[in-house]
């Protein structure tokens, strides 16, 4: 009889620990949308690469800014990636805001600010490192690096939001590591990590948390 009360106590502790640290209004649907943008972006990237008329030149930061636009495939791909990122972030913000409204919560709370901080730290450091790789013309390592640091950012952010984000992080990081063994297939790994993984885990989050 009394043990039931203690079980209730444990449950209450767990609920309050989660509620006070995790930002739960993160939208699963925004993960699915981000994945779709990434897949479309990869297709455009694939199109740019297969139609490239000049190849074989290793790219550096200097060349990125000096090559004429029509031959500057790296810059074209980078802009596509930036577009994907922009759309994904904007979509995530609006869908999350809508979900928070439904839960009668605010978007900017102590929990969500902490989440963003923990997510951005590895991402910004990794982003800076990735730009350095480009400067040394190590283009093949860029996709693996993006996947690895994005994965680390997700793993780091997971304790402060829905737990599923942790598995997304591990998947991306592992894909990045595998990709660094087979350089040159970056676009496929990029599509798998940022596209498929987001759709899969976004759907899991949507089914688990969004629907009710």
């Amino acid at each position: 009889m009394t043990t039931d009360r203690y079980l209730e106590d444990i449950k209450e502790i767990k609920t309050l620990m989660n509620k006070s640290t995790r930002f739960i209004s993160l939208s699963g649907m925004s993960g699915i949308m981000a994945g779709i943008y990434a897949l479309v972006g990869s297709l455009i990237g694939y199109y740019i690469i297969t139609n490239a008329r000049i190849r074989g030149k290793g790219d550096t930061l200097d060349r990125l800014f000096s090559t004429p636009w029509e031959y500057n495939y790296s810059l074209q791909i980078l802009l596509v990636a930036a577009g994907v990122l922009f759309l994904a972030v904007v979509t995530a913000y609006f869908l999350t805001r809508a979900k928070a409204k439904k839960h009668r919560q605010k978007v900017w709370t102590k929990q969500s600010i902490r989440l963003v901080k923990h997510f951005l730290t590895p991402l910004i450091i990794g982003g800076a490192f990735t730009v350095c790789l480009l400067n040394y013309s190590l283009v093949g390592l860029i996709a693996p690096c993006m996947l690895i640091f994005y994965g680390l950012a997700c793993i780091q952010a997971a304790p402060y939001t829905l737990g599923t984000v942790k598995y997304l992080g591990w998947s991306c990081a592992i894909l990045g590591l595998i990709n660094s063994l087979w350089i040159g297939y970056g676009l496929y790994f990029w599509a798998a990590g940022f596209g498929l993984c987001h759709i899969i885990y976004g759907a899991v989050m949507y089914l688990k948390y969004d629907r009710n």
Partner: protein
């Protein structure tokens, strides 16, 4: 029956248990946050917080944000240690049934 003795009487109430649960996983929480998370009245929260403060399980910091008074609650090292012992005892009791 010795297990029940391991439970800390100070945490043997829903609100005090709640306050401790929040404070051990957060650096601090202010009065308003605690109130919203626990869904309790001002007076109720204040009196239970006071009890925990007397036992040295939590610390209270009063300050001003602009002109508004702000009360922050923090778990002390003693509070964190005692609370984790309390959780351990709860888990043992549940496993042992």
């Amino acid at each position: 029956m010795s297990l029940i003795h391991k439970l800390n009487k100070a945490f043997d109430h829903r609100i005090r248990l709640g306050i401790m649960s929040i404070l051990v996983v957060n650096d601090f929480a202010d009065f308003k946050e605690l109130k919203e998370l626990l869904e309790v009245t001002d007076g109720n929260l204040a009196s239970h917080a006071k009890a925990l403060e007397k036992g040295d399980y939590i610390k209270v910091e009063k300050s001003f944000i602009g002109r508004k008074p702000n009360t922050r609650y923090l778990a002390t090292d003693l509070g964190k240690a005692e609370f984790s012992k309390h959780i351990e005892a709860l888990e043992q009791i549940i496993k042992g049934r």
